[in-house]
Symmetry: none
Subunit: 220 residues, 4 copies
């Protein structure tokens, strides 16, 4: 996670071969520009400007503009995958604790990588059909992971069995993802605090409690 969080910052320590660096810089610049202007409105020119090279030169690293977008997805996917693996490997946690840890880690990652994450969650539909399908495939294990935890919590009497695992799973994802839309680096509370409170909110949202308002009957 630490390595992932560092990705948005400029790397100071580089060895003799600067090539991989270049690639990462290109993707980082694209993430910044796409975040700021939106993928469809951003021009390849603007990405090149951000990098201080000419538009034509950018095409040494990519074949199409969409490649820039897809590489952002690849990078985020890789990081997010490692968060999942890490959370899954922690021992001695009950399902609710594991969900709390998952939410907290993901939120922390999001807040540390706002530009890339914004693109990752906002511009999915700008990918071509094959890549779109690929990314949707990537995301499935996360859905499964979370739903399984929810069901386990329900079976162990920790979570309300009346809640649909798919629905509340999506609510938890909402809690994690939407941070990219409201978090303001300088104005909002510290990432650690936000991550903790999101985790607390998500767990509270599914936990079994005594008193809960029942309103379904009131629907107009």
């Amino acid at each position: 996670m630490a390595a992932a969080g560092a990705r948005d910052r400029e790397d100071a320590e580089r060895g003799p071969r600067a090539r991989p660096r270049r690639e990462a810089e290109v993707v980082a610049a694209a993430a910044r520009v796409f975040h700021e202007r939106g993928y469809a409105d951003a021009s390849v020119q603007e990405v090149a400007d951000e990098l201080g090279i000419l538009k034509g030169s950018l095409y040494h690293y990519i074949r199409t503009k969409e490649d820039l977008l897809f590489r952002i997805f690849q990078d985020v996917h890789r990081d997010v995958e490692s968060i999942l693996a890490e959370v899954a490997s922690v021992a001695d946690l009950d399902p609710l604790e594991r969900i709390a840890l998952y939410v907290q880690r993901q939120v922390l990652y999001n807040l540390a990588n706002l530009a890339r994450i914004s693109v990752y969650y906002h511009e999915l539909r700008r990918l071509g059909p094959e890549r779109l399908a690929l990314v949707l495939e990537w995301r499935k294990p996360h859905n499964e992971f979370l739903r399984r935890l929810i069901r386990e919590a329900q079976e162990q009497g920790l979570a309300d069995p009346a809640q649909d695992a798919a629905v509340v799973g999506n609510c938890i994802f909402a809690t994690i993802i939407w941070t990219y839309r409201w978090y303001r680096p300088r104005r909002s509370p510290s990432p650690a605090l936000v991550a903790a409170q999101c985790a607390r909110y998500a767990v509270g949202g599914i936990a079994l409690q005594g008193q809960t308002p029942q309103q379904e009957g009131q629907t107009p």
Copy 2:
């Protein structure tokens, strides 16, 4: 009226003012197209096609493409405003109950208006600066309304006072808003069920409970 006879087949049952209907159709078509293709990728031509008129004719209703976008925002804002008013006017609810009602009503509205809502939440940044500022201004009362309820709940011992009202307020908005991204009309549970479970999740997320995992200290 006689001169307009040739156009009567298009909408037969219309009162003396035919304009509002036509206007609403235009905005609805725009919402559908912008939802499907994304605002930036959608062309004015496609909206005209959706309406069965020519591109040039569309400019009788609008001055710029952004007008189409903005009218969607106006419509949604109007509806959402009335939901807020309605929820505020219900008597004899404690803060948590009122939050639950608010979430439930909003989610129900979202699920019934997926196209417009998707645009409303997804394309905000495509508005020009003045209109963007206007919409952000519109949204403030909702923030205030929700935060006030949270604080009241905390003061009345119903909600966890350790939670930052702004943060959990955003979490509740996340729960409401994100439905536009995951809800699938035919595959997902009924709107009523989803709305109820989202409300239950949101209230549970802020309600005071005995046991909650405390992880802030574990953050690396």
Copy 3:
């Protein structure tokens, strides 16, 4: 044929609706530009300049640059088809006479439509695969027509049966087609003279004669 020949010239007499005219002008301008500069080197800008409109406006008539090319092929094909039909319908000609008529008419057409014909014979491979296949399909009946006449002439003792019908058929096409490369409107003899001599050359090339050099054995 007369109508076909007139196509390259500007039409003076036009009715109230100038629309079909516009289309023909576009194709004629494209033919001129592609002839002068070569299809691949010519830019859509240059075609627009030739028409006195803006590049973007040209796209009201076409979807791609290749459309311009293909319409030239369509026009020439239509004309050439009618020449074939006409030659086939003349009564009381022996095979050699019919071949002579065919060559003469085709050459006359070529010389009257140099720009379009140059493109038709020179830029075939610039068409996309489907259109290329289509045009090759169009040309097959001409091959068949000519080969059949050659075989008939051979059977009737008018043409040398030792000649391969496919090979000399191609030689006759060469005689017809290559005119687009060497004919110079002001410097060369009159179209009528050239057409007659090409016909005479082609017929002589296949006709049965007493003395002909036999060199195949000398091949190194």
Copy 4:
């Protein structure tokens, strides 16, 4: 030689001067690529790929892309010149026999060098003005040679004096050149047969005969 050892596998049997071979390979690769894709559509990259070197490395052999084209012209010119010289030096041939020999040798050469010949005849106009003029100058002696033979044949009563020497000269060139467009190495008859029949066709086309259709009067 030791330093160059790493490249020995590419061409093992080479004398002390490896440069000319390398040069010839470059031109041959260019001819193949230009033949396949067309000069204007072919990229320098593709020629480099064909050679298995990088684009930048190609510029050790050439200064511009057009150089590649011109060298093909130089090579073909050299060969074609030697055919002319050879045909001119054969003793004891009457004009028609010499024309037959010329056609046959040229066609044989064309069929054995389809790629270069296609470029030679197809891409002439892609040369810059000076080189274009140069090549046109090169070709003049061939025109003169052929026309002189035709006129001699006419004077000796071997060829029809009513035919314009320039026109039928071009017809003969057509017969020779057009082979590059219709000859298919595996499907068409043997080069020797084709060359013989082209020669037979060309000579028949100009030879004096009794019966010839006269259609000039029918021209509309």
